[in-house]
């Protein structure tokens, strides 16, 4: 029997692992049921003895050694099987947790993209304002210069004998030409902004559609994995954070007192 004891102990050592209390706490365990090696060994020995006793088997030394060997082998087989199941379970649980994490990230990203899309759709374009980049300003400047030059060089403006009327005509033509150029630029700019907005909306719509599809696929994978492995992921709460009393409630002050009293009573129970 001593040999069996040492074999059982060795088997348990081979198939078990050490873990710190701190790590267990980190994993969220608060209470664990511990079984000492000696207790397991004792249980097996007692079980063998009891079964042999119940069967009223008067075994000689060799037969008893045979039974012990069988028990030992069976125990090792069961222990190995248990470990394999545990490993499988851990692996499935890990994959499931990773998939859940991916699902959460996708959900978060989808919400962000949907918000961006809504914002972009509702963004009003300013058709009245002309905005010019530095390059645009240089371009418009040179076009105005060309136009003014054209005005000055055509129409037979004689500045040597210029009169106030002629200067006024000149001023009016320059203003017209400049206005036409700027109005053209404003329309071009507005059209460009509108096109940019449409492109952006289209891009965001494509992204949202893609994310929705990914999300649906991930949800399906999660459900399939949960079903196949008997995992129940639970039902998510509608709250992402701790709530508390609505301070706009007209009875908030009174409720605050009640809640404090309930808390105090529970705190006293804890002490």
């Amino acid at each position: 029997m001593a040999k069996l004891h040492s074999q059982v102990l060795q088997a348990i050592r081979d198939h078990s692992f050490r873990v710190s209390v701190r790590k267990l706490k980190q994993q969220g365990h608060r209470r664990i049921t511990a079984l000492r090696l000696q207790d397991i060994q004792q249980l097996i020995s007692e079980a063998v003895e009891r079964v042999l006793g119940e069967k009223d088997l008067a075994l000689d030394g060799k037969a008893r050694a045979g039974v012990e060997k069988e028990v030992h082998e069976e125990f090792q087989r069961l222990l190995a099987e248990h470990q394999r199941v545990l490993r499988d379970h851990e692996s499935v649980t890990k994959s499931f947790a990773e998939l859940q994490e991916r699902y959460s990230l996708l959900q978060h990203e989808l919400t962000q993209q949907q918000e961006l899309l809504e914002h972009e759709r509702s963004r009003e374009l300013d058709a009245e304002t002309l905005t010019l980049s530095k390059e645009g300003l240089v371009d418009v400047g040179s076009r105005i210069r060309e136009a003014v030059h054209l005005v000055l060089s055509s129409g037979g403006m004689d500045f040597a004998n210029g009169t106030a009327d002629k200067l006024r005509q000149l001023e009016s033509r320059i203003v017209d030409v400049t206005s036409q150029i700027l109005e053209h630029e404003r329309l071009v700019g507005y059209e460009r902004d509108r096109q940019d907005k449409d492109d952006r909306v289209e891009q965001l719509e494509r992204r949202v559609t893609k994310l929705r599809k990914h999300l649906a696929d991930t949800e399906q994978s999660l459900a399939a994995m949960a079903k196949a492995k008997g995992i129940d992921p639970g039902v998510a709460s509608i709250y992402r954070s701790v709530q508390g009393l609505n301070l706009e409630d007209p009875t908030a002050d009174k409720k605050k007192e009640f809640l404090k009293e309930i808390f105090d009573q529970n705190l006293a129970l804890r002490d």
Binding site: V235, A236, S237, G244, T251, L269
Partner: protein, 345 residues
């Protein structure tokens, strides 16, 4: 309980003698009958394939199980038909944990729960309930059952709450502050008492019929009423193996009506010891809740006896008797400040 960063699940629980109900902030609402069953031996364990069963499922397998009804008169039993206090405590712990599992909590969410327990539960009992719950949730508080009903319905001023359970009828006077011992009366003339009364009456009425208390309880839950006019209530019990019908209308009415006088007496005590200026208001705001409030016509019957003995009164029935307690507890959980939860973790 690390990595609980995906949300907060609030749970409100009504831990009752007969039924335990939960309402949760993920929309789950469940009720389980407060029965816990453990396999009688290895063969039963193998056949059932589980170490513990609950509610109706456990009752259905009662021949293979040792059945516990761990709560009596609303608190964990000190002794029972052979069951030790430790066994009842274990059954109560398993029941609480099962009820929480019914809320389908996610592993990555914080779980904060408020459990409605009878006001007169001993400190030992309350600690046992809290210990059991703490094993599976992050932070838990207890509160008085009738108070949670009133809180859930925002009736915190000048209201009399009657919570009729299986083990007890709890009456609580709400007057804008936390009710103390003088504001609460607990009666034992509740559902189980009515079952016993009906059982005795049926034994006389249905001579030779074979039935047990459990069958009577189920029958009462389906047919309970107190009104003068009613369709005939027919019970079918075996007589020497042959199903036989009995008209038990009067017996059901008589047994159910036995609840009324003690309730009105208790109402009278709570009203008469209240500030005389507000007694009328209190009389006209009697809130009837708990599983027992489903007895047909009970609200009217209480009003009639109140009119005779107390000069009038108005009884309002809660809309969801099965969940009024757990809904109220859920609301308390929701409103509780974060710092309180943290301090009790």
């Amino acid at each position: 309980m690390s990595d609980k960063d995906h949300g907060v699940l609030y749970i409100g629980m009504d831990l009752g003698t007969s039924r335990t109900s939960i309402s949760a902030s993920n929309g789950v609402r469940e009720t389980v009958e407060s029965y816990v069953g453990y396999p009688k031996d290895v063969v039963a364990r193998k056949m059932i394939g589980r170490d513990v069963m609950f509610g109706v499922e456990a009752l259905g397998k009662r021949l293979s199980l040792n059945i516990f009804k761990p709560l009596e008169k609303g608190v964990i039993k000190d002794s029972d038909d052979g069951a030790t206090i430790e066994e009842n405590m274990k059954a109560a712990r398993d029941l609480i944990q099962h009820a929480i599992s019914l809320a389908k909590p996610r592993k990555d969410e914080l779980i904060y729960a408020v459990i409605g327990a009878p006001a007169e539960a001993s400190i030992h009992n309350k600690k046992a309930i809290l210990d059991a719950a703490r094993e599976v949730i992050d932070s838990v508080m207890l509160c008085s059952e009738p108070f949670s009903v009133a809180y859930g319905l925002d009736m915190l001023d000048d209201t009399l709450v009657i919570d009729i359970g299986a083990g007890t009828v709890d009456l609580c006077r709400m007057h804008g502050t936390m009710p103390d011992a003088d504001d609460q009366i607990t009666l034992t003339t509740a559902g189980d008492y009515v079952d016993d009364q009906l059982y005795e009456l049926l034994k006389e009425r249905c001579e030779g019929a074979d039935f047990n208390l459990n069958m009577v309880k189920r029958f009462k839950e389906k047919h309970a009423f107190v009104t003068t006019a009613s369709e005939p209530v027919i019970a079918t019990f075996p007589v020497e193996g042959k199903p036989t019908q009995f008209d038990v209308t009067d017996e059901v009415r008589t047994a159910c009506r036995k609840m009324v006088p003690p309730i009105v007496d208790a109402l009278g005590k709570l009203i008469s010891s209240f500030d005389p200026e507000f007694q009328d208001r209190l009389r006209s705001r009697v809130l009837l809740g708990g599983g027992g409030s489903q007895v047909r016509g009970l609200d009217r019957a209480i009003e009639e006896v109140m009119a005779e003995r107390l000069g009038g009164g108005q009884v309002l029935k809660v809309e969801e008797p099965m969940y009024a307690g757990s809904n109220g507890a859920l609301k308390i959980a929701h409103d509780m400040p974060e710092e309180y939860w943290e301090k009790l973790r």
